[in-house]
């Protein structure tokens, strides 16, 4: 039995040393970490009051801060990264940069509300924190520490070794800077680039969560905690719905549950016509990503609706937007 226990202990020690200290995911997590840091730098540099969009990849792909800033005369940072990034981590990173009077708009993907605690604690941000951002990790609850220590499964371990090898051979990670503008928006995702996505190939992916799922969701509890924090510090939080496929309707009671997530603790909710459901032609490579022309059209809609909510005058869309035409989202 002692030899058996020793083998187990060696296994744990080697795992911790290799994946905690030596081997990371330079190709998969490196660009994510750099994007997060770059967007935080934009947030730190922007004067208050400012508008910050926090979401998954629907943030940068389907929203254009460049348009929102011009129409609302409010500095805007598109801080969305990806659905896999834990909301608690994202909120923890952004809290130091939010000041009284700032506005945080959360057009969260519905998957964010129902993302489980277990999935959240081993997401890509867990490995990023363990390797590069232990200060944020320490500030999060202990189960996130354990999750970060054990975030690497067999697949991730093999990919970590492969990515380390690829990097040593000179393979560079995707350069997000080339497709991100100075507001943090994703740009240049026109129809001609649309890749075959399994989500589209199967006709829109799975259905939307029910109201009960949303109310009970772990992601919902993280958002509620953030709304509470923001209210106490004079930061306005406005919930929203993401741009999504009209083939997968979002039930009215699910919308009501999302609305309640924000409004129950003093946040506000932005309801867009048709719950921002658009036809397939509006989308790029996934049901969360609008093509660039429709990203701009959707952002004009969002700005027009946000203005009254924020008691701000809404200017006309910038002239350059006229060169983009999105037939799927009439204005």
């Amino acid at each position: 039995m002692p030899a058996l226990l020793a083998a187990c202990a060696v296994s744990m020690a080697v795992y911790g040393a290799v994946f905690g200290l030596l081997v990371g995911r330079p190709l998969a997590h490196g660009p994510l970490a750099r994007q997060i840091d770059a967007k935080l730098a934009l947030g730190a540099a922007a004067p208050s009051p400012k508008l910050v969009i926090l979401a998954g990849s629907n943030g940068p792909y389907s929203h254009r801060c460049e348009v929102l800033e011009a129409m609302l005369s409010l500095p805007c940072i598109n801080a969305g990264i990806a659905v896999g990034i834990g909301l608690d981590y994202l909120f923890a990173r952004w809290r130091p940069f939010l000041r009284p009077g700032d506005v945080v708009y959360l057009p969260m993907e519905t998957a964010q509300y129902i993302r489980s605690r277990s999935a959240t604690r081993v997401g890509p941000d867990a490995a990023i924190m363990l390797r590069h951002d232990r200060a944020t990790l320490v500030a999060l609850p202990p189960d996130r520490w354990a999750g970060a220590l054990f975030a690497v499964d067999a697949r991730a371990a093999i990919m970590a070794l492969l990515e380390t090898l690829f990097t040593a051979l000179g393979v560079a990670p995707a350069n997000a800077d080339a497709t991100t503008n100075r507001w943090g928006d994703h740009v240049g995702h026109g129809r001609s680039d649309a890749a075959g996505s399994p989500a589209f190939a199967i006709g829109g992916g799975s259905g939307e969560p029910t109201a009960a799922d949303i109310r009970a969701g772990y992601g919902t509890s993280l958002i509620v905690a953030f709304v509470t924090w923001a209210r106490a510090r004079g930061v306005a939080v406005i919930g929203g719905v993401p741009a999504a496929l009209d083939a997968v309707p979002l039930p009215a009671d699910s919308i009501a549950a999302i609305r309640a997530t924000y409004e129950q603790l003093g946040g506000r909710f932005l309801e867009l016509p048709g719950a921002a459901r658009y036809p397939r032609a509006a989308f790029y490579d996934s049901p969360d990503h609008l093509i660039e022309a429709c990203q701009i059209a959707h952002s004009i809609r969002v700005a027009s609706a946000l203005g009254p909510l924020l008691a701000r005058a809404v200017a006309a869309p910038p002239a350059w937007t006229a060169s983009f035409g999105c037939a799927a989202i009439p204005l």
């Binding site: 081993v122 054990f150 371990a157 890749a195």
Partner: protein, 498 residues
């Protein structure tokens, strides 16, 4: 209850094991009562209403078996056989009612237009296994002079939780004597260590390897089920991944069962012996799910006549046995097809052995390698209907494996290796490969290479020395902990559905 869950490992197992040896201090009867009670808790964890079904089945079979044994011992063999036959019919009727009634009704409706209303019912967990287990007991009882046992020993044998719901199918004569040996009821540190080691290695096979390959197999097979076409590499990766998934899943489960039994001082027979290294299809069935193969041979193939009445009768008997084996795995035509394919391959192999001249000595290594490769290729291709959701989906996967729906590779790969562009079309990502990301192709290929290396080149758990088992444990334990406590979801054991 699942072996690969924290509640089993940290809750149920220590209590069941500790209670067994504490009760063993009070005597074998107390220990057996504890063991049966533990089996009931284990079996009824997700649905307590199934426990009465299990207990009724145990009691009914024991009563019939005891009666048949008494008749056999009294020299009334025909009467004993009648009781045994009645018991087997009753067991198979129960199995048929739960497992095959819907399938039969659907086919009657499709063929004859007769709509037979069969209420949908959940398949009781492990019914295929404990039914076959008890049929073995009944057959033994019908033989004069076979070992007899009391109800408590019998209930302990059938209800012994390590093999209760997914085998291995163990002979009553192998286990019941162990359950009456006084040493069984005393804790044994060596058995505990050896059993725990094998259990942890089996757990690693399931949680670390099988579940990893499931994530690569599912996208392809699910896409085929939805009517999508698969390109060459998508189809092959899905099929190769499923071949590894089912091996690691079921052999992992069997290792866990063997390890658990060993912790209770009970020896189970080996159920897998590196089957993908088999030199021919007959050898494959002596290495894959060995206990089922043994059962089918003893209780179907031999009673049908085996190889005693000429090659045509033998071919018929092999086909019938393998068709039944296929149907045992599930009430569906895809399982029948899988069984038929294996049956035909075995008939072809038997014929080849009879007709083909022996290879010259110097060519034997080549012939052996060729046999291994051909067998492996066949077994992998035959897993397609076993996994596919219907015949049409199976046909789509085979179509893809033949390259009839195109050959595509990620354009990033073709940029690095331009000669590949001569055989493959560039695509941004392969839609049905892993997570359909840019790096999915190297990810899946690396994992498959590692999996097949383990399967084809490494000794199996039972061939490893104690020291090498510890090395394997050192390599896998942390990943097992990761999967056990931190994986967002756990895949159920594949064989639970059978």
């Amino acid at each position: 209850m699942l072996f690969g869950t924290p509640i089993f490992i940290l809750g149920f197992l220590p209590v069941a094991l500790g209670g067994f040896f504490v009760a063993g201090q009070m005597g074998p009867r107390a220990a057996l009562v504890w063991l049966v009670a533990a089996g009931c808790v284990f079996y009824g964890w997700s649905d307590p209403l199934l426990v009465p079904l299990l207990l009724a089945s145990i009691l009914g079979n024991w009563l019939i078996g005891s009666r048949a044994a008494a008749l056999a011992d009294a020299g009334r063999a025909p009467m004993a056989r009648l009781w045994v036959g009645g018991g087997i019919v009753a067991d198979l009727a129960l199995l048929g009612w739960y497992k095959y009634a819907g399938f039969v009704a659907a086919n009657v409706a499709a063929l004859g237009g007769i709509d037979v209303a069969v209420a949908a019912r959940a398949l009781p967990l492990g019914i295929s296994f404990f039914t076959f287990q008890q049929i073995m007991f009944l057959v033994d009882c019908g033989r004069s002079g076979a070992a007899r046992c009391g109800l408590l020993s019998y209930a302990g044998f059938v209800g012994f939780f390590p093999h209760l719901i997914a085998g291995p199918l163990v002979q009553p004569g192998e286990i019941i004597p162990q359950l009456s040996h006084p040493r069984t009821f005393r804790g044994d540190a060596d058995n505990l260590t050896a059993g725990l080691t094998v259990f942890l290695l089996g757990l690693a096979k399931k949680l670390v390897l099988a579940d990893t390959f499931a994530a690569f197999a599912d996208p392809g097979f699910n896409a085929a089920a939805r009517g999508a076409t698969l390109t060459f590499f998508e189809a092959w990766c899905a099929t190769l991944a499923y071949s590894l998934q089912i091996y690691f899943d079921f052999s992992g489960y069997s290792d866990m069962a063997i390890g658990l039994a060993r912790m209770f001082n009970i020896r189970f027979p080996q159920n897998f012996d590196s089957p993908y290294r088999a030199p021919n299809i007959s050898a494959f069935w002596q290495r894959w799910h060995i206990s089922l193969g043994r059962f089918l041979r003893a209780h179907v193939y031999i009673p049908l006549g085996g190889n005693r009445r000429g090659i045509w009768r033998q071919a018929r008997n092999i086909l019938a046995t393998m068709l039944l084996g296929g149907l045992w795995h599930g009430a569906g035509w895809t399982f029948v097809l899988w069984g038929a394919l294996h049956g035909m391959a075995m008939v072809a192999h038997q014929s080849f052995r009879r007709l083909a001249p022996a290879a010259p000595e110097r060519l034997r290594p080549v012939a052996r390698c060729g046999g291994r490769a051909l067998t492996l290729l066949f077994v992998i291709a035959a897993w397609v209907p076993f996994r596919a959701d219907g015949m049409a989906a199976a046909a789509r996967v085979w179509h893809g494996m033949l390259g009839l729906d195109g050959i595509a590779l990620p354009d990033a790969l073709l940029a690095i290796a331009p000669p590949l562009a001569r055989i493959a079309d560039p695509v941004p990502v392969l839609r049905y490969l892993g997570d359909a990301r840019t790096l999915s192709f190297p990810e899946v290929c690396s994992c498959l290479a590692l999996g097949w290396l383990i399967v084809l080149a490494a000794p199996n758990v039972h061939q490893l020395s104690a020291a090498r088992r510890r090395v394997a444990l050192a390599a896998s334990f942390a990943f097992t902990v990761q999967a056990l406590f931190f994986a967002p979801s756990v895949q159920p054991f594949l064989y639970f559905q059978f």
